[in-house]
Amino acid sequence: MDRSLKRRLEARLSSQLRGPVRQRHDQTEIRIGPGDVPDVLRTLHDAVDLRFEILADLAGVDTGQEMQVVYHLWSETASDWLRVIVEGISRDDPRCPSATFLWIGAEWPEREAYDMFGIVFEGNRDLRRIFMPPDYTSFPLRKDFLLPDDAARSPGAGVRHVERPHAPAVVAGDPAAGIRRAPAS
């Protein structure tokens, strides 16, 4: 855990942080709102005592209640990975500013997050599906997208059905019908 990184982050980003800076193992975690993404990323990238130059990862997350976009950054000034969680993105109309103004390489991960979660990255000039075919209409990694069969979780497959945040869909007939089911909540 890099205590000094925590102090520097609190000093630089005090107005934009939502909640405390959390640290566990070799990771430091901050949470921000979608409106602050360009400012925060710019500060993290450019500030002389931060200089997070390498975008290690950009991931979408569906918590079931909201969408999140998660950045992992690396800097030679810190011994921790920095995790920036953009929280509070609506599930019905998920929108988040793009990071391509800073890292062009964010273009493809953002396309992937759009493909898998439907998160629209404003400012990405090539936001189309990347893995799924262009006429595909669902977003497969959303939590209301259930696998068409329950085989992966059946006792026969050796996986115990202990706790699931959602019940498997009961699909009669067309196995593809279940995957476009409306959200249960």
Binding site: W103, G105, W108, P109, D126, P134, L141, V159
Partner: protein
């Protein structure tokens, strides 16, 4: 029981107007038969609308109309600014489809190239032909099963995916890994890094037209893979790392094969690299081609040998040490040129460093258990973890979220090839068509990892 109607009745054939005629009268005229044959031929050539894929631009489909052969506009409306720009053809430009099934695309990568003569003007890589939805599968299988689900992602060096996954899970569960298990992990992974880099050398030469190096690459790879098969039981999809250790201690056959290989590894590496380093055709085709400068490499998020060939000494083993790498002595080779040749030479230097690491592992390996004590059903506390390792192609990360159940709530794999390939639209324009494969190949993409 319903009987199936035959398409053509031997007698009493049904005409389209519904009138039934005796068999001998059912002969159609010569003209009618010719017209039917022409219709059938047209239908064969042009599949019905519902069977046509929207994915392919018309260059793949409309073969009956010569003028449409190079029609650049995809059959669906353009979706983005970039796509509109790409599919607008300038004066004298044409499109060329490379892949998805092309021997030089290292899997099923499709590149739509916009050419002006022999020169590449723009590139649109099309991915997803190998997409298996591994992340979704992992979110629906428990923590133990994730390890064998991530194996087939990057099938050339599958231990690294396992390592990233168990690294993230061990953080979620606060597991201490025994030191011997850490050394075994380093040892086996570095072996696989040597195998992967050697294979890279062979395929790079193959894409430039040299056949011999790939044969030597496969000799090397086969020895390593057989060695690991003696240890893990599998040649490619090892399923060897476990949360809290590895599956089984080193055995006699592995060690004897390893000793045999180590006795000539350094010499063999020099011999293999000599095949290309002193080959004038190879050097002249690779030098100064596909130059990626430091700034762009960082902005694109390129990692691994591709980044170090551009002058950034970023290696996760040193930049953010994990496992026992802090205790090992090795260098991070860096070059400044950033061209295809530098990317090749960096990897060959890394092979030498890996052999040094393997040697140190064998000498420093402590005794002790290879597995930590863990419950049969893993249910980590809710939390988030990120584990990153340095794979042969760059930083390979896994982001796992636990919600307290026995399955990861979110399982995200960051594959280095994905971002390494994303520089292709930047690197290729301005180069000749013949150099596209030399450049793509020097980035060392593996489509299994990219398409997840």
């Amino acid at each position: 029981m319903p009987t199936r109607q035959r398409a053509t009745q031997p007698d009493g054939a049904t005409q389209p107007d519904g009138a039934t005629q005796p068999a001998h009268a059912a002969r159609t005229s010569q003209a009618a038969r010719a017209s039917q044959a022409a219709t059938a031929k047209a239908q064969r050539q042009r599949p019905p609308e519902q069977y046509r894929s929207d994915d392919d631009p018309r260059i793949m489909l409309d073969r009956e109309v010569g003028a449409d052969l190079f029609e650049p506009i995809p059959p669906y409306p353009v979706r983005t600014e970039r796509e509109a720009e790409f599919y607008t053809r300038g004066d004298g430009e044409m499109f060329l489809n490379v892949g998805p099934h092309h021997p030089a695309t290292h899997g099923v990568l499709r590149l739509v190239l916009k050419l002006s003569g022999e020169q590449v003007v723009d590139v649109d890589p099309v991915l997803g032909y190998l997409h298996r939805g591994v992340e979704k599968i992992c979110e629906n299988s428990d923590y133990y099963h994730v390890i064998d689900q991530v194996d087939p992602l990057e099938y050339v060096s599958s231990l690294f995916q396992e390592w990233a996954a168990v690294l993230a899970f061990e953080q979620l569960m606060d597991v201490e890994v025994p030191p011997r298990a850490e050394y075994i992990r380093v040892l086996t992974s570095e072996l696989l890094r040597v195998s992967s880099h050697t294979l890279f050398m062979g395929f790079l030469a193959l894409d430039l037209g040299g056949l011999a190096p790939i044969l030597y690459s496969f000799i090397e790879r086969d020895e390593i893979v057989e060695m690991l098969a003696a240890l893990t039981g599998a040649r490619m999809l090892f399923n060897y790392f476990r949360i809290g250790g590895v599956n089984g201690d080193l055995n006699h056959e592995f060690l004897s094969r390893l000793g045999d290989w180590m006795s000539r590894a350094a010499k063999q590496t020099e011999a293999n690299t000599g095949l290309l380093n002193e080959n004038e055709i190879f050097v002249r085709r690779a030098r100064g081609v596909g130059i990626l400068d430091r700034e762009m490499a960082l902005r694109f998020g390129v990692t691994g040998g591709n980044l170090r060939a551009s002058g950034v000494p970023f290696d996760v083993r040193r930049a953010h040490p994990y496992s026992v790498y802090p205790q090992l002595d090795f260098n991070v080779p860096t070059r400044l040129e950033g061209d295809s040749l530098a990317r090749y030479l960096i990897r060959m230097d890394e092979v030498r460093e890996s052999i040094r690491i393997i040697d140190q592992c064998l000498h420093n390996m402590p005794d002790g258990p290879v597995m930590a004590k863990l419950p049969r059903l893993l249910r980590p506390r809710p939390g988030r973890a990120w584990g990153a390792v340095e794979g042969p192609r760059g930083m390979l990360g896994v982001y796992a979220i636990s919600d307290g159940s026995d399955q990861p709530f979110r399982f995200r794999i960051h594959d280095p090839s994905f971002l390494n390939l994303a520089v292709v639209p930047y690197l290729l324009p301005g180069n000749l068509l013949a150099d596209t494969m030399a450049i793509v190949s020097s980035l060392d993409p593996v489509l299994g990892g990219i398409d997840k």
